[in-house]
């Protein structure tokens, strides 16, 4: 603890004036609703969330951010609500300390369990559905217990390229995940070790970047049952290019691979989710308009598990001294139940209004 305080004090040795006036607050409502299946066998998963993040540059080298969200998630079958979970999520407090003339960042984060625990039977379906890596709900977990993550990232130039390397370790404490009838399911997530490599360079006025992240986990425990859900590998690439007329376009690709693992009482098959997004940003006066299209494909155990196509429109403009960022997307596609070759239609809408108060 004394070392931590000393480290924070070192970061706090100010080189320039920083303070509350430099803080930024970000947040705003996000609404997502996916309809899965056709009439008569239709499931709808809806989430309304309001994330909020507070970023405070304490000194030029030390920044603290705090984030949390309120979320309301519901599942309904053929129009009849079957599960609902609503409330505050966990709160994440993170400090970032820049060192060595800005070429390294040390980061320490704490997950404070302000979210939903001992989730009763009626809420469990909603709590689980929002965790989908394929449909990507803005709030994917209502509570994951006390955890601490320490990490470091360094970067240096190699000719025209910049190379970044980072690693982190996350330690999680046990928490009471579910209340099943009279019993409480105590869940202890395994520790996570994560490494990431990033590579980027300027291309004309634009930028191209590549990154890869590998996460491995020690065994999870649910009461006395021990299992491991499989290592995750995330590969990312993006190209951003301004055009001569002051607009820009960008293409970004990511691919998530989760190795085969175990669930409680079952095998967790390997899965792969690939995503490509193409966006064109247009500056209209002081406003920014960015239409985009996105495609996503999901494979489970080497078999098709789903695919979606998304069209979206994002705006950015300043109003009332704030940066307003409304966006809306519409998604169409399908998913395959495990072990089935018959697809089920999926369609959904996502609308957000994120606001940054400078």
């Amino acid at each position: 603890m004394r070392k931590l305080i000393a480290l924070l004090a070192l970061g706090a040795a100010p080189l320039g004036a920083q303070g509350l006036s430099d803080a930024s607050v970000l947040g705003g409502p996000q609404y997502v609703s996916y309809k899965i299946g056709l009439s008569g066998a239709e499931k709808t998963v809806t989430q309304l969330s309001v994330p909020i993040a507070f970023v405070l540059p304490v000194t030029e080298r030390f920044t603290v951010d705090v984030s949390s969200a309120w979320a309301d998630s519901r599942v309904s079958s053929d129009g009849v609500e079957s599960s609902k979970i609503s409330g505050l999520t966990d709160t994440q407090l993170r400090g970032n300390l820049s060192m060595f003339d800005g070429s390294a960042i040390f980061t320490l984060g704490v997950n404070i369990p302000t979210g939903m625990y001992k989730v009763p039977d009626a809420q469990q379906e909603a709590a689980g559905q929002i965790g989908s890596d394929f449909l990507l709900y803005p709030v994917s977990s209502m509570g994951s217990g006390t955890a601490m993550t320490g990490g470091v990232a360094i970067a240096r130039s190699l000719g025209d390229w910049n190379l970044g390397f980072g690693g982190s370790f996350r330690y999680s404490q046990p928490f009471d995940a579910y209340q099943i009838q009279d019993a409480v399911l105590r869940f202890e997530p395994g520790s996570e070790t994560r490494v990431r490599v990033g590579l980027d360079r300027a291309v004309g006025d634009g930028r191209i970047s590549f990154a890869g992240t590998y996460s491995t986990f020690t065994d999870d425990k649910a009461d006395s049952t021990t299992f491991a859900t499989g290592a995750r590998t995330l590969a990312q690439a993006s190209l951003y290019m301004p055009t001569d007329n002051g607009n820009d376009w960008s293409i970004s690709v990511w691919d998530l691979y989760r190795a085969q693992g175990q669930q409680i009482g079952a095998v967790a098959p390997s899965e792969n989710i690939a995503n490509v997004n193409l966006a064109y940003g247009i500056n209209v006066g002081s406003a920014y308009i960015q239409p985009s299209i996105e495609g996503r494909a999901w494979m489970r155990d080497g078999e098709k598990a789903g695919a979606t196509g998304t069209g979206g429109l994002r705006l950015r403009f300043d109003a009332l001294g704030m940066s307003m960022n409304p966006s809306v997307t519409y998604t169409m596609g399908n998913v395959y139940p495990a072990g089935s070759t018959t697809s089920i239609d999926v369609s959904g809408i996502r609308a957000t209004l994120l606001i940054r108060v400078r």
């Binding site: 004090a9 947040g27 960042i105 970044g164 099943i180 019993a183 990033g198 986990f217 990511w254 940003g281």
Partner: protein
């Protein structure tokens, strides 16, 4: 001991809270805190190109151009491949009316700079600046005229004054500029002569407000020649009465002796104006004892001449350009080009005038606006905030940090930024509980958790 352990964190926490406020007060008292920080940084590490660059950019922002140029020149010496240092050194030099320094720095930026849009601006700015430079040089020459009187230039360094048109038809008056331009081009074919550009001569003529009638006076011509550092100056007259007859008569005046050394002439017709001009130039060569090499003579004989109407439009374009009417000049050069599509000089002049027009609009503000959202613009923004951090490295670091220890903050930040950050999200963290129970599968009618709980 217990008591001390409790107090120390509190003291540290208080220090953490109070330190930024104390520093802010100190910085305000000292002036611009960002500048103070950068000056301290340079004092600590004078051999840091990034620190010198940031300080130079900051000085430029504060309009302290001399100090900006000095710091940026140091940065350029340490890192010649840095575009921002070259760009801001160029802008600082220009603000100091150091055109040579500005041209050198801008040219370097065109070589090593990264922003395509800014390079276009600088290319245009260089054209506009060349005109400003000619005017400044002319002013400087007039200011130093007394000193220049004793300077002797070789007689083979030749300048050509605008011709005087003694023409009945006033529509031919623009030929005064066109003929001088044509003669300069043809005289320059002789490697034995150093022929000074028409635009430079015109700047001197404009600066001393030399009237066309006075140009014929050898003493006045000598003065103009001295000011442009020419050893010989050619004056000329176009004589065209009411008919088609036309002749050219000139005098080459030695600027040291003020005596005419040659009096070339050529007779012809308006319709054969280019042939008349060719005879005139050959007479200049003969009277100045200039012998063309076989290749030069061949090139001269094979030169392409435009149609008369195109040349007249071109001459009007030169007149408009000399008067600073760039829009008119562009239109007239383009008209000359459309009358004679093979008229290369008209195309070049049209492009140059267009670049000069655009370049005149280029300012430090427009350059900085153009740099926005570029990696070089981020270097500038950081410097203006007092930071020497290489922001491109910052981008790399943020790219890595964002996923090494991601929180909801990253997700929200991505949603509120533009450009490279698109609205797409990535699955940064696993939901361990959903992973373990498999309840995250969307293609299930209902979630199902099968758990065997062993009761104690």
């Amino acid at each position: 001991m217990q008591r001390r352990l409790r107090v120390r964190p509190l003291v540290l926490a208080a220090a953490l809270l109070c330190a930024p406020a104390a520093v802010a007060l100190h910085a305000q008292a000292a002036g611009d805190p960002a500048l103070t920080k950068l000056e301290q940084r340079v004092a600590r590490d004078p051999n840091s190109a990034k620190a010198q660059r940031a300080l130079g950019v900051k000085y430029f922002e504060l309009k302290r151009f001399g100090e900006a140029k000095a710091a940026l020149d140091k940065a350029r010496a340490m890192d010649p491949k840095d575009g921002v240092s070259a760009l801001y050194a160029g802008m600082s030099a220009e603000a100091l009316n150091d055109f040579a320094g500005a041209r050198d720095a801008y040219s370097k930026y065109l070589e090593v700079g990264k922003s395509k849009a800014t390079k276009k601006q600088i290319n245009e700015r260089l054209v506009a600046m060349a005109r400003d430079e000619l005017k400044a040089q002319a002013k400087q020459a007039v200011a130093n005229e007394a000193r220049l009187r004793g300077v002797q230039s070789p007689s083979t360094t030749v300048a050509v004054l605008p011709f005087h048109c003694a023409c009945t038809d006033t529509a031919l008056k623009p030929l005064e500029r066109g003929m001088a331009d044509l003669v300069v081009t043809d005289l320059a074919r002789a490697s034995a002569l150093k022929v000074l550009e028409r635009d430079r001569m015109q700047a001197i003529v404009d600066e001393i407000k030399l009237s066309q009638t006075a140009q014929a006076d050898p003493a006045t011509a000598t003065r103009a020649g001295k000011l442009i550092a020419a050893g010989s100056i050619l004056t000329g007259q176009i004589v065209a009465g009411g008919g088609t007859q036309m002749n050219l008569a000139g005098a080459v005046v030695n600027t040291t002796t003020s005596q005419p050394t040659a009096t070339p002439t050529a007779d012809g017709t308006i319709n054969a104006i280019f042939d008349t001009e060719r005879k005139f130039v050959l007479d200049v060569f003969r009277e100045m004892n200039v012998t063309l090499t076989p290749d030069e003579a061949k090139a001269f004989e094979q030169r392409r001449v435009p149609s008369f109407q195109a040349f007249l439009a071109y001459s009007r374009g030169l007149m408009a350009e000399d008067d600073g009417r760039l829009d008119d000049a562009i239109a007239l050069f383009e008209s000359a080009r459309s009358l004679d599509p093979g008229f290369g000089a008209a195309l070049q002049r049209a492009q140059s005038a267009a670049a000069a027009k655009n370049g005149a609009q280029v300012s430090s503000a427009s350059v900085q606006q153009g740099l926005k959202n570029t990696s070089e613009g981020q270097v500038v923004s950081a410097a203006q905030r007092g930071s020497t951090t290489d922001v491109t490295i910052n981008l790399t670091l943020n790219n890595v940090v964002g996923d090494v220890n991601p929180t909801l903050t990253n997700t929200v930040q991505n949603g509120t930024s533009g450009g490279a950050n698109t609205s797409t999200n990535t699955p940064q963290n696993r939901d361990a509980t959903a992973d373990a129970t498999g309840t995250d599968q969307p293609a299930q009618k209902t979630g199902q958790i099968t758990i065997v709980i062993k009761k104690p």
